[in-house]
């Protein structure tokens, strides 16, 4: 009794400081305990990580601030269309497990450009790969730093910039000290924090709304109010009443849903920070198994997100629609001050009209609020609200650290060691790796504080680029022995260029007079495919160009063909090759 009084007496702010403080200290303790002492430890955690630890680390690595804070919100506004993210960001793991991970593990080097450079016996191929890896990772990491800043400024009333700087120092500490080894074990802890923080509110709300403690079943159940109506039917009804598309139908065209899902799946399988996680396990069979474990752990969150989306959307509509503004609960006022919710009483009736028609709609809701404010909307205890902050930070930091490692190893290993200064000593390379990590964190922090306006737009580019460049080059490298450097390089360059031009044209309106022209260009989309989905076309172009060019050029040297035969077999060592 006294205990529960004590717990209830603590306000959200204090709870947030306690939970964030505890989790941050945990990360630092782990980092000190798992320092890296060799380049092998720095790049691939010594290569002896267990499948379960790697699965958890991969899951945390993969689930970013966008998955934790953003995804459920996006789905709750997109309805059925949100499936592109759910299927796209999970289905890629099947490709990864069946087509890439086991072979890359057998190949047994440190980075993705390592594979491209060796398999295609070419420095040019390696440099093209480094360029893609850096572009994809920098794009991504600045988004993570922004996530850190947002969580700090909203939950801790710390200035946004201070929040980013605190985040920079934490990541700096464990990424620079521990390299992949430190990152792996902090990510294991971060997975636990973020999944707990995501599931607790979801379970509470599911019980409240449907009486079912399992959110995945709850959102397909009847409402707990005894009306006998299914939750999804109710939401479909509410949505159409207000002029929105029916929730379970969505509004994107079939071909676009298809293309975006494919681009995200293939992009996921081609993202370097995900791929390198599979270099850290001991054997080929561990790589397969840990891909399965990673997806299982990811699906725990991803299958809950659409349930949260439905709960939050229904709650929101019921709380605000046609209700007097003066009667709004406290959370509404609180989030109004952050600008995430804005009310403009256009017809001066004091009621909130929340409708699809932009001329009559009076309420602006930021999508992020669906996760951030969800526990408050559902009137959950203070510690649960604080938990969301700790979870969001865990998600952002774990992904940021994984990306920083890709950046630093691309610079120290692929550029310095393999291109500019092959004679560098082991010690020198380790110092270079640490310095590159410091440089990368600094740049990421800078982008976090001065976010380039195009961050949201370039996330599509990150997936598209990975889909258009790495995925075909790696898959052909493994499954098509005859594929040569001319084909692979031409394919990657055509893929990236096509993707880049499409984004510049349809996302930035570069060729038609700037951003204002973007909306009008929609009718010119090729086959009705959005820039987000174009990665699948660019990928197909890469495959076609690679195969055509290959027909007219020399087949790869004997020793390279031997590497291919060798990586297809799970046992035995890979022959070292130096080109």
């Amino acid at each position: 009794m006294i205990n529960s009084l004590l717990i209830e007496g603590i306000d959200v702010q204090t709870w947030t400081y306690i939970l964030v403080g505890l989790t941050f200290s945990l990360y630092i303790v782990i980092a000190i305990w798992s320092r890296a002492s060799s380049t092998k430890e720095f790049y691939v955690a010594g290569g002896g990580v267990s499948p379960w630890a790697n699965g958890m680390a991969t899951a945390a690595d993969w689930m970013s601030a966008a998955s934790f804070i953003g995804m459920a919100g996006i789905i709750s506004f997109a309805g059925y269309d949100g499936a592109v993210y759910l299927m796209g960001w999970t289905g890629g793991y099947v490709l990864l497990a069946l087509l890439l991970a086991p072979y890359l593990r057998k190949f047994g080097k440190f980075t993705v450009p390592d594979f491209i450079g060796d398999r295609y016996y070419s420095k040019t191929a390696r440099i093209v790969a480094v360029f893609c890896a850096l572009l994809v990772s920098f794009t991504y990491v600045s988004g993570q730093m922004q996530g850190v800043g947002i969580v700090f400024s909203r939950f801790l009333e710390v200035d946004y910039n201070t929040g980013v700087i605190i985040g920079v120092f934490i990541v700096l500490f464990y990424a620079v000290l521990g390299g992949m080894k430190g990152i792996t074990y902090t990510q294991v802890a971060q997975y636990c924090v973020l999944i707990f923080a995501f599931m607790v509110p979801a379970i509470f709300i599911s019980i409240q709304m449907t009486g079912n403690p399992i959110p995945q079943l709850g959102f397909g159940s009847e409402l707990a109010d005894g009306s006998g109506t299914y939750l999804l039917d109710k939401l479909d009804g509410l949505s159409t009443e207000l002029g929105f598309a029916e929730y379970t139908q969505g509004s994107k065209s079939l071909i676009d849903v298809f293309a975006i899902t494919l681009a995200l799946m293939v992009g996921t399988a081609g993202l370097p920070h995900v791929i390198i996680r599979f270099f850290t396990v001991k054997r080929v069979r561990d790589a397969r198994k840990s891909a399965g474990i990673a997806l299982l752990l990811i699906v725990v969150l991803y299958s809950t997100a659409p349930a949260v989306a439905v709960f939050a959307r229904t709650n929101l509509i019921e709380t605000v629609s046609d209700k007097p503004y003066d009667d709004m609960p406290q959370w509404f006022k609180k989030w109004e001050t952050t600008g995430l919710i804005a009310f403009d009483d256009k017809n001066n009736d004091g009621l909130i009209q929340y409708v699809a028609d932009t001329k009559e709609n009076e309420l602006m809701v930021n999508r992020d609020i669906m996760v951030l404010a969800n526990p408050e909307i559902a009137k959950l205890p203070n510690w649960v609200i604080a938990l969301v902050a700790a979870g969001g930070l865990a998600a952002a930091l774990s992904t940021a650290a994984g990306l920083l490692l890709v950046i630093s190893s691309s610079v120290s290993h692929d550029l310095i060691k393999k291109v500019f200064n092959p004679k560098i000593s082991e010690k020198g390379e380790l110092v270079a790796a640490r310095l590159s990590a410091v440089g990368a964190v600094t740049v990421a922090g800078y982008f976090g504080i001065n976010p380039p306006g195009f961050v949201a737009a370039v996330v599509a580019l990150a997936f598209g680029l990975a889909a258009a460049s790495f995925f075909p080059a790696i898959v052909l490298g493994i499954f098509y022995k005859r594929m040569n450097k001319e084909g692979a390089i031409a394919g990657m360059i055509v893929g990236i260029t096509a993707m880049g031009l499409y984004i510049l044209k349809f996302k930035f309106g570069v060729f038609d007079g700037g951003l204002d022209a973007v909306a009008g260009l929609k009718k010119d989309w090729w086959f009705g495919i959005s820039p987000e989905g174009f990665g699948s076309i660019a990928m197909a172009l890469n495959f076609i160009v690679s195969i055509v060019i290959m027909q007219f050029t020399k087949e790869p040297p004997e020793d390279v063909q031997e590497i291919v035969e060798n990586i297809r077999i799970p046992s035995g060592a890979t022959k070292a090759l130096d080109h």
């Binding site: 299927m87 999970t90 099947v94 939750l231 999804l232 069979r285 799970p570």
Partner: protein, 85 residues
């Protein structure tokens, strides 16, 4: 069997598994979740329309199962061809 022949036979069986599993991967997500969504939506399981359920829940579950099936199949295959050491 020479080691070369052994490796070729292993690879062929592996490719067969991959093709079968990827067809299922394609059918549940692009098939049930996207192309045939509207048709499947006339079937309901509790509050879920089936096409919607495949898109937002079912395909993810199938993906996880597919990977674990592949893990099992390949572990057996490794043993059969003596690549498990």
């Amino acid at each position: 069997m020479s080691s070369n022949k052994n490796a070729k036979a292993y690879w062929r069986e592996n490719i067969r598994y991959v093709l079968i599993l990827l067809s299922i991967w394609f059918l549940v997500s692009y098939g049930a979740g996207i192309i045939f969504k509207d048709a499947l939506n006339s079937i309901r399981i509790g509050g879920f329309k089936l096409g919607f359920w495949f898109a937002q829940q079912g395909s993810m579950y199938v993906f996880v199962i597919l990977i674990f099936i592949y893990v099992r199949l390949m572990n057996k295959l490794d043993k059969k061809y003596g690549y498990d050491k």
